[in-house]
Amino acid sequence: MDYVIRVCGAAGQGIQTIGATLAKVFSRSGYFIFSYQDYESRVRGGHNFYEIRFSDELVSAPRGGVDLLIALDKETLEVDIEELVEGGTGVYDSKALEKTMDDDRFVDVPMGDIAQEQAGSRLMANTVASGAALGMLGVPSEIMGKVIEATLGTKGGDVVDKNKKAGDAGHSYAKEHCPKCAFTVTPAGKERLLIAGNEAVGFAAMASGVKFYAAYPMTPSTGIITYLAGKAADHGLVVEQAEDEISAINMALGASFMGARSMTGTSGGGFALMVEGLSLAGMTETPVVIALGQRPAPATGLPTRTEQGDLLFSLFAAHGEFPRLLFAPGNPQQIFSCVNRAFDLSEKYQVPAIILTDQLIADAEWSLDGIDLDSFVFNDYRVRGDDFAALKEYRRHAFTDSGVSPLAIPGDAKHVVVTDSDEHNEEGHIIEDAETRMRMVEKRMLKKMPLIRNEMEQPELYGEEKPDTVLCGWGSNWGVLREVTDRLNAGGRKVAMLHFSELYPFPDYEGRPWMEALRAAKKTVCVENNATGRFAYLVRAETGFEFSSKLGKYDGRPFNARDLEKELSDGHVG
């Protein structure tokens, strides 16, 4: 069972409310959920959708095709109708949309009138729509009532009651008038939690000991600061909205220098402003974690849409040579692990770490059985308190075998902690001599780099053990590649997926099974949400390996499993 509901309408009509309610209802009913959003860069109007896919098996990507279309605007009836699969159903309100569908797949539900009658306001048409969808699918209305209580509880009893009434009314209307749904949804098991990508990033940062987060709002990363700001008082964080991204990263560095685990988040344009600060982190060896939610560029690009265009930018950004870590998670578990490892390794080696997400996974939601808190690593690498005071002398940038110098908390001892953006000596004071400069470059870059490379996790090789075709990808394409691999193998092909979530330092490859699989395969395809194959470039630069073909998508929309399978079958796959 694999079902897709798409809620479409103008910004401001409440499609997010409907989508979020439905996603929550299905995850509480024990289903696997994957939802994602497609919206325009405007606050009111336009045409947007929120798509919820639910299944009794793991789903982690857009599927392609819609089973139930909830239309809140006229455009849905012209555009999204194309996506309706055979046997699919549409729900609309002919009075509100001033259009009557001569199409027996469509059911006319007077959402506005019901909302007015039951809740005294046409504004609650969206709740009626949610109720109607659930009624058509045979989901008991009590579950929706609980979700309304949980999500609207803070707005007061009256709001909850009215919404419940509106939802119930939509539910019973649908049960009476819409006998069309091909199947009904029954609770599938244990309640699952529902988490969005940005929330997962914020939660993982907390679970990794973040104390300070500074950012300037920018789609699609704003959800991280929103999440953390809501948690600040309860979880001992300081969250600051900076005046610009330059300030945000310098703030993160200032707090980190003083001893607080620090993070910032932005998108490509904001990251461009942070670049000098990134270099400062490299020079002063100050740990910092940066979440970079990619969106289509150059410049402002398509602000609310998705792309994987900033890989090489984040890899090469900043003047000078210094190590950095690049992660690109593709699902919630990878988000937890990548964010946690970014914090841990950033502190351990005193280098900046960047987490590349994109609009698809920043806004996407997944259901999970739970979160394994024991899986989060926390090591304190700082020299603090009595340990610092016990040191006879202290040099912030002392030469060591590993290149890693003691990172102490200023103020915890009589020793002073000194660092500089100028080249400096072991104490942290400015120097000009060639000898010290060379030793510092060796310490910062050449000694640390191989140690960090050794830490990097291997990519995931999934599917056929001896594949004819290897589909390679990174970051947010984990879900779609895994699904397409399964689909192609079910159709008799021999395909494996190779997915990277730890990108740089590029993992060790010589003699590794995945490198052997790549070399042995007849066809190798690098699938990316960009035009030129940025990851294929990185693989070739690091390993010399060249993919037999590249498949790029650069329309600002994510891949879906159905279309990607079709496209790959057309010559890319052996």
Binding site: K211, M251, I371, D380
Partner: protein, 283 residues
């Protein structure tokens, strides 16, 4: 007890006769008089001749990027609000490259002391105009003279309701020591704009030029009257007042964070707490 010896730094790279020496000496005197331990203070600096300042005394030091002293200092205070945090910047550094941060630090009223070494010229890059250069000043880049009006940092600060606004002069160290002490002891953000003659590149605003114009604000002057303060802050010509121009009492930014009511962020438990509570909210 802290002595001048405890505050000895590395060898200076400033030009002989630089106004920065007067600022450095005044700072050390103020630090000794206030008993400031090197490990109990943080000096954040940017780039320019002023940026080198912390190296020439002894203190926790973050000598960061050009223009970015205030974001670093702001967050350093949020991470440890028991650490005296001073930002040392130049006029180009703070009013040019970092102008946006200057405005927002005043809005926040973060408890950072900002000492601006204001020599009305770019020293490190050898003599270009700065945001405070006089109208008409000739430089290699402005052979016809500077055409932009100079930025008036103290008037701007009073307009922003900055909680402490003072102007000093490197040639009047006795007063400068007192102004630094007052800024350090003030609760909230403090701007101390310090005239600092650049002997190499500013042939207009020389020691003689400042000496002729600078006068100490009279003892009867009331720095709590904002409109009067604005009037005096605008006085920049034949006569230029030095001293505390304006001050007000208002809550500091640190006080706005519930987390910090429990003590400095860096002194709190480093391990994450109560995660189960956060997980429950996802259901």
């Amino acid at each position: 007890m802290v002595t001048l010896d405890d505050l000895k730094g590395t060898e200076t790279a400033w030009c002989p006769g630089c106004g920065n020496f007067g600022i450095l000496q005044s700072f050390k005197r103020a630090a000794v008089e206030l008993g400031l331990e090197p490990s109990g203070m943080l000096i954040v600096s940017g780039i320019g001749q002023a940026g080198k300042f912390p190296h020439y005394t002894k203190c926790n030091t973050f000598n960061g990027l050009h223009g970015r002293t205030l974001p670093v200092a702001t967050a350093a205070r949020l991470a440890n609000h028991e650490m005296l945090t001073i930002a040392e910047a130049g006029d180009g550094d703070c009013y040019g490259e970092g102008g946006n941060h200057f405005m927002h630090a005043m809005r926040r009223n973060i408890d950072v002391k900002l000492f601006v070494h204001d020599n009305q010229v770019y020293g490190l890059t050898k003599g270009q105009a700065s945001p405070t250069s006089d109208l008409g000043m000739k430089t290699k880049i402005n052979p016809g003279g500077v055409a932009s009006e100079p930025l008036d940092p103290v008037a701007l600060a009073v307009a922003m309701d900055c909680s402490f606004v003072a102007r000093g002069y490197a040639g009047d160290q006795d007063q400068l020591v007192e102004l630094m002490k007052a800024a350090i002891e003030h609760k909230g953000f403090a701007l101390l704009d310090i005239f600092q003659p650049c002997v190499s590149f500013n042939k207009v605003n020389t020691y003689a030029w400042y000496k002729e114009r600078c006068y100490r604000l009279e003892d009867s002057y009331d720095p709590t009257d904002r409109l009067k303060a604005f009037e005096r802050a605008l006085e920049f010509g034949d006569r230029i007042p030095t001293g505390v121009l304006y001050r007000n009492e208002r809550p500091t930014y640190e006080e706005a964070f519930p987390t910090l009511a429990k003590g400095p962020l860096v002194k709190q438990a480093v391990k994450p707490v109560d995660l189960e509570k956060a997980v429950a909210l996802f259901y």
